[in-house]
């Protein structure tokens, strides 16, 4: 059952990725990305990574989509460019075929070589919970996250503030 759901979600992800690439509307691309993230959240949940799934849902589906949509609305060009749209379709026309060929090739190679990565037995799974691991062993990363958020804040100050004057 787990396998089935994960594979289904994977297919959904690849599908939305293609739509994110090929759809002409930026808004629809952003929404496709959000859908991808949602599918990924399901996969994460199925793999037992509950916190990660939660973050993926809240941040990637929520926050990043908001960021994209506001960025898109702020950068809408004054004129619609039909030639550009046609050009866009032409440039991405090859993508699905490439992906199908590549996917088939990869699957063929992996199956042919008998590739397999067995899941660990129950006893091999580490006991530690996410809380313990995250707060006690990843303090460097937490410091890094704080710094990153600080950097983001300064970036917003620099990149957005003075723009109003222009």
């Amino acid at each position: 059952m787990t396998t089935f759901i994960i594979v289904l979600c994977l297919v959904v992800m690849v599908g939305f990725a293609i739509s994110a690439a090929m759809l002409r509307s930026m808004l629809k691309s952003a929404v496709s990305l959000a859908a991808m993230s949602a599918a990924l959240a399901v996969i994460l949940y199925m793999m037992g990574a509950i916190w990660a799934a939660l973050f993926e849902l809240s941040v990637c589906v929520g926050l990043i989509t908001v960021v994209f949509i506001s960025a898109i609305s702020l950068t809408t060009p004054d004129r619609r460019d039909e030639a550009h749209a046609a050009d866009h379709r032409r440039r991405f026309a090859a993508l699905p075929f490439i992906l199908i060929a590549l996917g088939a090739a990869i699957i063929a190679v992996l199956v042919y070589t008998g590739f397999s990565l067995p899941l660990p037995g129950e006893e091999a799974v580490a006991e530690a919970t996410f809380n313990q691991v995250f707060w006690q062993t990843r303090q460097a990363d937490i410091l890094g996250q704080i710094l990153m958020l600080l950097a983001g804040a300064f970036a917003v100050v620099v990149l957005f503030k003075e723009g109003k004057k222009i």
Partner: protein, 488 residues
């Protein structure tokens, strides 16, 4: 280990953070005035701290020290730790940051405040890269360094900064994808991303369950860090980013940032992690020699001061990586010393380009000429730095290049060593062209009233030139010391 030393260790992460807080908590008017001093203090204290920790470690007979004050870490935690190489690098970072802040006074106008904030975050990011012992934490600090430098490049939104920053961002994002992909594959096999654990997992990688995954892992990591360090053919973004950055930012960026983000990480990888993976070293050596030669060749016909320096950086990065890829102690030490030397002379040159830009308003060499008499300090320090880059004895660059080429020779790749030696001619060629166009010859019309830039810019180019010359002259002593340590 003494308690005092632990506090000193904390300055590497604590002091810049404190400076950021100070800068933002102070009144805006006061902060505008003193923010650059904060940065200079942070840089100088960092250099002093690096020297102090080095002396303490030597005195205690240790080779590395963990941060244990205030850190209650679980088993297998990602922690900060310093060894001699990190200390050397931390010293370089402090040096370049100081030079950058000294340059900033004349170039940034009202952007000093934001510059200080971002440069301190950048400093934290770079220090983090030097201190971490976990590949994932390395990625985290890489990303911090990256974000801070994107914003700093585009600090001056009127110019081409946005373009350079965006190109850097895109290439850096690709690099991140590759690095993280590689880490994921390595993580599958090792179960941890601590340097030691990954090295252990790779020690007999041919016999692992799925060697293909490990190969994919280290190839992706290699590619990612190569993009970050701007090795040919992954170099496209580097000249653009350097050229478009404001003068003070390009000092920091060209002097240390890209070296920390890419080259330092690659050195760590070859020295600590991929020790038993000869393929890694072979590919790296190939990339290195391509960068050395093509970087130098490409620099020959450039027309912008900073762009020449950028291509020269690509070439010099090649030398560092060539040393690292030899897999011997001599090569690694040569690479580390060249890292230090490169930070010194390339910062000098970027400071000089900043001085030229301040004095004349342009960095295009066709519009410049005859500045030697008008700007003697800049001209002479530029000559010194360029001689050191080209590896002319007895300047510092000569010795480290010598070690690298000896190491390459010892690996049996005589052809590559010869090519690396031969590329010095190109180095001399592009720098002579630069020197001739900018400093020698008759003064170009409109530049008759040019004056030497005084203050911090002048001071930093003098100090850095002194380091280049002094280090070159003291090098035999250093070599004896290393010999005494049994390192070579």
């Amino acid at each position: 280990m003494s308690a005092g030393m632990e506090f000193v260790l904390l300055t590497f992460m604590g002091l810049p953070l404190l400076m950021v807080l100070l800068n933002n908590l102070l009144k805006k008017e006061i902060a505008q005035k003193i923010c650059l001093s904060l940065g200079i203090i942070a840089g100088i204290v960092q250099m002093a701290a690096a020297v102090f920790v080095f002396a303490s470690l030597k005195a205690a007979g240790q080779t590395e020290a963990d941060f244990s004050q205030f850190w209650d870490l679980g088993v297998g935690a990602s922690r900060f730790s310093v060894d001699f190489f990190s200390l050397l690098v931390l010293f370089c970072i402090g040096m370049v940051i100081t030079a950058g802040f000294l340059t900033a006074g004349k170039t940034l106008g009202d952007k000093k405040f934001n510059f200080t904030n971002l440069a301190m975050i950048l400093l934290l990011g770079m220090n983090g890269i030097a201190l971490v012992t976990d590949l994932f934490s390395l990625y985290v600090f890489l990303e911090i360094t990256g974000v801070a430098s994107f914003v700093m490049i585009s600090l001056n939104k009127e110019g081409d900064g946005i373009e350079g920053a965006f190109k850097y961002l895109v290439m850096s994002a690709i690099a991140t994808v590759f690095i993280l992909g590689g880490l994921a594959f390595l993580f599958m096999q090792s179960g941890s991303l601590q340097y030691g654990d990954v090295a252990a997992a790779l020690s007999d990688w041919q016999y692992a369950e799925q060697p293909a995954l490990l190969i994919a892992g280290f190839v992706l990591v290699l590619v990612g860090f190569s993009i970050k360090s701007g090795v040919m053919p992954f170099h496209g973004w580097l000249p653009d980013a350097y050229q478009s950055a404001p003068a003070a930012v390009s000092v920091i960026l060209g002097g240390i940032v890209t070296k920390m983000a890419g080259v330092y990480a690659l050195l760590r990888l070859t020295a600590d992690i991929f020790v038993n993976v000869p393929v890694f070293n072979q590919i790296l050596m190939l990339l290195a020699i391509v960068s050395i030669v093509l970087g130098a060749v490409a620099a020959i016909t450039q027309t912008d001061f900073k762009r020449i320096l950028a291509y020269s950086s690509i070439s010099q990065i090649g030398y560092i990586l060539l040393g690292a890829s030899c897999g011997s102690a001599v090569g690694l030490i040569g690479a580390m010393l060249h890292f230090f030397n490169h930070a010194t002379f390339k910062t000098t040159l970027f400071v000089n380009s900043a001085a030229v830009e301040i004095a004349t308003g342009t960095t295009e060499i066709e519009k410049l000429g005859g500045l030697q008499e008008k700007m003697p300090v800049t001209g002479v320090s530029s000559i010194l730095a360029f001689l050191s880059t080209a590896g002319i004895p007895p300047l510092a660059g000569f010795w480290s290049k010598l070690l690298i080429i000896i190491a390459a020779w010892q690996t049996g790749n005589v052809f590559i060593a010869g090519l690396a030696l031969f590329a010095s001619i190109f180095t001399a060629a592009y720098f002579l062209r630069l020197q001739r166009c900018v400093f020698f010859g008759p003064a170009v019309e409109g530049l008759e009233d040019t004056k030497e830039v005084t203050g911090g810019v002048c001071l930093s180019s003098l100090a850095l030139s002194a380091i280049t010359v002094g280090f070159g002259l003291l090098f035999p002593a250093l070599l004896l010391f290393l010999q005494g340590q049994g390192l070579i």
